[in-house]
């Protein structure tokens, strides 16, 4: 019986097809495309408002005649805002790099109307070579130990600079001395990169860390350039998870950094919020550092005694604070 199918196969009247061009099909789709969720919501809100206007007028007239109200204080447009989030990054070196390097970094980063500050909560960095520990930095501030630190995690989106990544704490103790001291809101930067096609949407709608995300990668770059894979919130564009691959080979043959981002907030720059985010050294912080190449026992120290983790100075004061 299989001969019958083979015979039918050989008698295929149209082995291939020439479909209409996509633009033609797309033009037809344009006519039938359903309105976006935002438009539908906007339409629903509009209809609702139109319906509420008469009722609102009646209520307003009643209230206005019965009660005296002080004028409402409106919020001035263009007022500054704060953006805060927490990151946790894990660095895994390539297997054939000859050295193992693992670091875990938890930090809260703060943007104030485009100007950025980092509030460092915990650093645990361990540098190893051939199984021997050569440098250990550990500092826990319980959310109060404050330190300038350029992790290079999200700011790399705008200006990709690997040299800022490893050992950034040693080379960049003060924000104002760092290249790119003016940072941007990561969501704004991602939007800009998407519009310039430097970031490309791969897929959308899948779950990551329990949230619906959109996957982005950076556009074609040189083989030496790191490859970024970002999982962002489809609505706010805020990054949730970032994978940075330093090399053409897939991990573990290339070094890999994984950054998870959480607690993203865009809040008003009120005196209370400003006070919460003001950077000041925390005298009780536990800092353990041993110099590179020492390999000796770690010693407890204050933040000031560890040059690579010098506490912030007046330069880290918030603008306008």
């Amino acid at each position: 019986m299989s001969d019958v199918l083979e015979r039918l196969k050989a008698d295929n009247p149209i082995p291939g097809g020439s479909p209409p061009p996509f633009d033609e099909v797309w033009a037809r789709l344009e006519a039938i495309k359903p309105p976006s969720r935002r438009k539908r919501l906007g339409r629903a809100v509009f209809v609702g408002l139109v319906g509420l206007v008469p009722a609102g007028l009646v209520v307003w007239l009643a209230v206005a005649t019965l009660f005296h109200r002080p004028p409402i204080q409106s919020v001035a447009t263009g007022s500054p805002w704060l953006i805060t989030y927490r990151t946790e990054s894990m660095m895994s070196p390539a297997v054939d790099s000859g050295a193992s390097f693992k670091s875990t970094l938890t930090t809260s980063q703060v943007w104030i109307s485009g100007r950025f500050r980092h509030r460092l909560d915990t650093i645990k960095t361990r540098l190893e070579s051939g199984g021997t520990s050569v440098s250990v930095h550990e500092m826990t501030g319980n959310g109060r130990q404050l330190e300038n630190f350029q992790s290079g995690a999200l700011d790399k989106l705008g200006a990709i600079d690997l040299s800022q990544d490893q050992g950034a704490a040693e080379t960049c103790p003060l924000i104002d001395e760092c290249a790119g001291g003016i940072a941007v809101d990561p969501a704004v930067e991602i939007k800009r990169l998407l519009q310039s096609r430097a970031l490309v949407v791969i897929r959308s709608g899948m779950l990551q860390a329990g949230r619906r995300v959109t996957e982005l990668v950076n556009g074609p770059t040189s083989p030496a350039s790191p490859r970024y894979t970002l999982f962002v919130d489809p609505t706010t564009l805020f990054p949730i998870l970032i994978h940075v691959q330093f090399g053409a080979e897939p991990p573990p043959r290339s070094s890999m950094e994984t950054i998870s981002v959480s607690d993203y907030r865009r809040v008003a720059l009120t005196p209370a919020n400003r006070s919460l985010l003001t950077m000041r050294p925390h005298p009780g912080a536990q800092v353990t550092c041993s110099g590179p190449g020492g390999g000796g026992p770690s010693r407890p120290a204050s933040a000031r005694s560890c040059p690579s983790l010098a506490p912030p100075t007046a330069a880290s004061q918030l603008p306008g604070g």
């Binding site: 015979r7 789709l29 359903p34 519009q195 949407v201 959308s204 959109t214 962002v232 865009r266």
Partner: protein, 183 residues
Amino acid sequence: MGGVPDMSIDVSEVWRRERLERLFSDHAEAVHAYARRRIDATTAEDTVAEVFAVAWRRLDDVPDHALPWLLAVARRVLANQRRGERRRGALLARLAVEPAPAHESEGEGDRPLRAAMARLGDRDREVLMLAAWEELSSAEIATVLGCSRAAANVRLHRARKRLVTALERERDGSHAVGIGVVS
């Protein structure tokens, strides 16, 4: 909060358009060929457009292995078109029995086989065409027909048997006619 930037770029819309373009570049040819084997060229183009319109509306439902899903949509679109034709008293029967009008312009082909196919019912003909012309696996046929894989296997097996029988009858009939002519 007036200083907060507008984040109104619609990423999902960009992604949807890119996905649809990928689907189209990967499968439009196969969908068009599927339609063209069953209807005329103009209607086939309309069918392709309609299939991708459905895909656009239901993009979240389109599986990664999209071709069987798209062919299932094409099958329903064609069925709707045929129902419309039937209502208008058009030549549905011809469309069903002569799967591709282009067929005729491309030569006689295997006439006994086509005659045998014409003897089969729509369901048998469809499953055979999916297996032979669309070259789908039984799992893919099941997706297109909206049945289980086992059911698709059974349908294909029975359709083959009926095609063999129809071919034998066709041969016997031709033979009888030939004898009649000679005598």
